[in-house]
Amino acid sequence: MVKEQTFAFFLGCIMPNRYPAIEKATKFVMEKLGYDLLEMERATCCPAPGVFRSFNKMDWMVAGARNLCIAEQLDADILTVCNGCFGTLQEINKHLKENEEHRELVNEKLKLLGDYEFKGTINVRHVAEVLGYEIGPWGIEDHIVRKINLKAAIHYGCHFLKPTRIREIESSEGPTIIEDFVEVLGVESVRFKDQLTCCGAGGGVKAYSGDASMTIFGEKMKNIDEVKPDIILDICPFCHLQYETGQDYLNKNKGCNYDYPVIHLSQLVAYAMGMDQEFVGLQYQMMGRDFIFGGEVIKREEEAI
């Protein structure tokens, strides 16, 4: 049995190395909700499912299994904050639990990397799913001290829900897990055209062809701009990076004039639970630099659980 109320906190690459405020906010939220987060020492990139799986699927599984082994040694389920990390680790974990042949091959190669053996004792979780289902809109209400009152364009990204036969979270064609959860925080979800499409960054496309990636993203932004949300809300640092740097690119190269703040779900929840704006990290935003969370204080922090 793995430890209860405890997660091995898998950082990945983009969150700790580009958006540390998301890391800070996630720690704040999870610890306030009563979870222990354990450091995964010597972890590496998950490795990213778009690039590294494309080059060598077996090595991708071995490097991913190495990260899984670090959490197995901590005896805790993994918590990810990124769709890419979640996609890689959840998929490899599930596959190696089910496929004995590959498990043996992977374990053989793991020996080259150190004292690792995949045993299949843990699960891999995504913060959006822990908040959305385990805590739930019914459970977060007692913890929030601020109602945020704004309109958000919600971006699910691809690998949180798809492939549905592997993730087994909910339908990828009409998900509501994030909408239902943030409604309690006072956030209204505004629907927009082709809401569930990709941000254009994944699959190694952003590295392979910046033009193609920005064309896909440009259409996404056009659709978001039609409904004029206050913020763009995501659950993945790679989508986050695409929305932040992509708006800047479109403004400079395609004559656009976008300035939407991009907020990760962890940051939004942290603010609602009483974290100061400076730790939520809005001062580091590339876009929407003037944006601050408004909203009303509904109870004092001491009164919240």
Binding site: A43, V51, S54, F55, G203, V205, A207
Partner: protein, 185 residues
């Protein structure tokens, strides 16, 4: 489309580096022979709406054993959004097929310089996106450790055994093609 499967397989001999088992492997791993060329994949493709990627044609070429797909730059335009995988009425899993094609293309050296660079980052830093000075500063301002406790931090502290092993054993790429040609000449 008059070629039989066997005739198409004969074409493999054109490229002597090519492993004939490859297409058989794809057949084993996906349900590619169930494809009825309905085009649901192409219609669902978020990249193909804006780029040259035509998933249905890629699947057809694989069925015919057409080796040109391995040099086709379009296979690298898939964002792995899994729409085709979710919606295929014949359960073909085109995203997995494209992944297999990319794996083989990489083996043949058909890999872009940018992607080579990402592999270099992983081997050097343990991250596909390494940290920079600005973010180190921000981490300190936020009250986090200046470096996250990943393999790179241990390397900075003089313990580089993890990343040395990545360098040695993981994601070996074939040499850049241009250099190979020059040597041959």
């Amino acid at each position: 489309m008059s070629e039989t499967k066997e005739e198409a397989h004969r074409e493999y001999k054109i490229d002597e580096d090519f492993d004939k088992e490859f297409f058989k492997n794809i057949e084993r791993k996906s349900n590619i022979w169930q494809c009825i060329q309905c085009g649901t994949c192409t219609a669902s493709c978020e990249s193909g709406r804006w780029t040259a990627l035509k998933t249905r044609i890629i699947i057809r070429k694989v069925c015919l054993g057409d080796l040109s797909v391995l040099k086709d730059p379009d296979i690298w335009l898939c964002t792995t959004c899994y729409n085709c995988y979710e919606r295929c009425p014949r359960d073909v899993r085109p995203t997995d097929v494209i992944m297999e094609l990319r794996n083989y293309a990489t083996k043949l050296g058909n890999i872009s310089p940018n992607h080579r660079a990402v592999v270099g980052y992983l081997k050097n830093f343990g991250h596909a996106v390494p940290i920079n000075d600005e973010v180190r500063q921000r981490r300190v301002e936020l009250g986090l450790e200046e470096l996250p406790p990943t393999a790179f931090k241990f390397k900075q502290e003089g313990d580089d055994k993890d990343l040395k092993k990545f360098e040695e054993y993981m994601f070996d790429l074939p040499p850049v093609k241009e250099e190979k040609k020059k040597e041959e000449k």
